[in-house]
Symmetry: C2
Subunit: 91 residues, 2 copies
């Protein structure tokens, strides 16, 4: 994973709401309606955040009936963790 991709992900995680969304999704996929209960934002704003997180590759989405389920993209998350893990002092 190269620097521009990482910067894009960091920018996505640079919003408190989005960071909390990712934290919630570490426990498994969730639909928008359930996620919405955890925040004090409107549904369009949440959908906007989900879009940002999806476009940088962090999330996957799956439609089932009238629900949309979001989950972490494990591969991207793994690559990102690896990059950050490499940012050590005195390399």
């Amino acid at each position: 994973m190269n620097a521009p991709d990482v910067a894009l992900i960091c920018r996505a995680l640079g919003d408190t709401n989005r960071l909390q969304i990712v934290e919630l999704l570490t426990h498994g996929e969730q639909c928008t309606c359930v996620l919405l209960e955890h925040f004090s934002i409107t549904q369009p704003t949440l959908t906007h955040h989900m879009r940002v997180l999806t476009e940088c590759g962090l999330l996957k989405s799956r439609k089932e009936g009238r629900n949309t389920y979001y989950s972490l993209n494990c591969e991207t998350m793994s690559d990102f963790r690896e990059f950050i893990a490499g940012l050590v002092c005195g390399k």
Copy 2:
């Protein structure tokens, strides 16, 4: 380290130039003048980026003569790495 602090750091790392600055500083402290050679931005813009990185706790600075030397704040970096390392699928 709590979520708001992490979000602040992520936002700081969400700029390609700043991410590269942090990568450069993993090899040790550097003064502004040397860092500037790696980028195609003006000196005030670089100083602005150093300020952002310092204010979120990622960098430390030290003045020696007419030079300012920047280095990673190892403790903050460590806490941040640990937080990101905890963002795993299927927790």
